[in-house]
Symmetry: C2
């Protein structure tokens, strides 16, 4: 399931972005550099200031016109967070950056592990590490996130807006293929499809059709489906039921915040926006956003960023190094508050960089 | 917030529908009849067999052609559940029944209380009754549930499907008006809007715009908004944060299953599809579906159905009677398993009708 390809001396474009992205990114890089030294990977980092609202304020756009060519020279993008809603509406900042990357670099897989870690307080009753361990595989380029639509009769009582959801056979089949492959590689071999074919009665029955067709090619993968409403409910009631959950762009977005919430905090959750063929750079970033409300205090939890770095190493062909980072995270968390330098969301009083340094030291 | 109108000798159309709808409905009616006698309401019930898959198997359609005129003679519809996916695809059975009612009778408000009840095991750690008590107000006629769209290039590699989301100013403003009114009537006066304007970049920024405009008319209502992904996460992490949550059709659907899941079980959750002006009959039904997997065992929990009856009485102008039913539910639940006849999902061993009878007796 990991990219078969090994990227030699991988070149990484580092984009911290906005808000706490700027605080957690140095910790992500610190962990990567520790792994880089230990495993002799020869990874190189270049930092960029675009894809941020600061850049927008200076240049009137989120990115330079040659962003595509610039970033194509890299093997992967290590990303922090973007968005400063008080300065710039989110749909401007996000569509001017992240969504461009996903489309432009055909990062059609958004991969998000949901795992209950030791030492992270779980909001669900009676769940312990090991009980929750699954992946959300989210389609990342089409579906409900389209830019097709518009407004009619503006500023009148008849005003309305429309927006297309667009599901292509190519787009659906390739994400299903990836998800089924992943399920097949795991011990439980269980795939759950998120649908809503009882209500969203055109695109979602089509999604179901394609899932059924693909499942025929994977006779050894147990396949089921849930409507998104009850599926969200099961994430809370029965999170141990899942192994690989495949979902459309919007449903995957919801499930991959809800899943981490069920495991305690979205601050630790990582994600990869992946072009599995390796034709374009893939992007790795924490699930959390720029969190303007806590920015500036250095209390942001850097684990989402650091774990994203581990996923990136895995993708680049260095699973051992990725595992070393992940184990270091687990090791520090397991020590627990009072002893390990944990950030406030984990019950500690440490700063972002204290936790980052402890993890880097444990690698 | 309750309909100001009092319906004299209200006429109720009872539609049990499919699956466990047929098992819980008699208990819903039993409770209503107890309240009817006690409060001298003069409510009358007529039963109908349409809007069910059984009806479809006999007649090749979900409802008779004159369903609209037939049901217009009633003050409200008391509904069980519909859908037998093994027999008929959900999008056929649902669009042929429930969705027709919502549109035809302009039931533009879907109102769903989310409340942690005594005696219901809560999947969240450290939450007790009183901690969770809010409403999801869902738009119920438009938005993502449109029937506009289709397929192109069928059965080829270029195949794709599209579906419009449609948000009208009228449709958005009236649901916001209802939700703000409701928030204003409650002690906390707090309204949360579910959005996704950072990703769904045409319709959702419009939704935000209308929320902002409406909030100007309700200066005493504290208003905030969350993107649906992080909002779902907060339902798990901070359910005590909410008072009235207003959402589009799809987001409301998800949140109103997720909310009840966070309070223990969707089996107890009620809902009303309401035409606030009372021009058309409103419909009251449990949030759960027809649950073919447990149908036939008489183990379905009838509380969602019974509580829906309480909401219906409230809507018809009999809040005291509605409260009497709700208090009876609380009273029986508080006794707890071992003593009260609770269904298996509540930790008991009782049958559907045992629990229904106990609640009716407590009214
Ligand atoms: C059955 C389905 C069409 C329906 C919906 O999505 O509206 C149900 O989930 C609900 O919430 O009432
Ligand atoms: C910021 C936003 C556009 C983005 C998304 O919805 O895709 C984010 O929530 C995510 O999950 O990466």
């Amino acid at each position: 399931m990991n990219a078969k390809k090994i990227f030699k001396n991988p070149k990484i474009a580092v984009i911290a972005g906005d808000g706490i992205g700027k605080e957690v990114m140095p910790e992500g890089v610190r962990a990567l550099e520790a792994a880089n030294r230990k495993f002799g990977i020869g990874m190189q980092f270049d930092h960029f200031d675009f894809a941020s609202c600061d850049y927008y304020l200076k240049h009137g756009k989120m990115m330079p016109d040659d962003w595509f060519d610039t970033l194509m020279k890299y093997d992967a993008i290590f990303f922090g967070a973007v968005g400063m809603p008080d300065i710039l509406p989110d749909h401007v900042s996000l569509w001017g950056s992240l969504i461009q990357f996903r489309r432009g670099f055909d990062q059609y897989v958004n991969l998000r592990p949901v795992r209950l870690l030791p030492g992270v307080p779980c909001p669900l009753a009676n769940r312990k590490p090991g009980d929750i361990d699954f992946f959300v595989v989210r389609e990342n380029t089409e579906g409900e996130y389209s830019s097709v639509g518009g407004k009619m009769f503006p500023d009148t009582d008849r005003e309305f807006v429309i927006q297309e959801s667009i599901f292509t056979r190519q787009g659906v089949d390739r994400i299903l293929q990836y998800a089924f492959d992943l399920a097949q590689s795991r011990p439980k071999k269980h795939l759950t499809s998120a649908t809503k074919s009882n209500g969203i009665a055109i695109t979602m029955p089509y999604w179901d059709e394609r899932v059924e067709a693909m499942s025929k090619k994977f006779a050894d993968v147990r396949t089921d489906k849930y409507h998104i409403d009850i599926l969200a409910a099961h994430f809370v009631m029965n999170p141990d039921r899942f192994d690989v959950v495949v979902a459309s762009n919007l449903f995957g977005d919801i499930l991959s915040d809800l899943g981490p919430a069920c495991t305690g905090t979205i601050a630790v959750a990582p994600s990869g926006s992946i072009n599995p063929e390796g034709k374009f750079p893939s992007l790795f970033e924490p699930v959390h956003g720029s969190a303007p409300d806590i920015y500036g205090k250095m209390i942001a939890n850097p684990i989402g960023q650091i774990w994203s770095g581990a996923m990136m190493l895995d993708h680049l062909g260095y699973p051992e190094a990725g595992n070393a980072i992940f184990s270091a995270i687990e090791k520090v968390l397991a020590v627990g508050p009072g002893h390990a330098p944990l950030t406030p969301d984990l019950g500690g009083t440490a700063k972002t960089d204290d936790l980052g340094k402890a993890i880097a030291a444990a690698i």
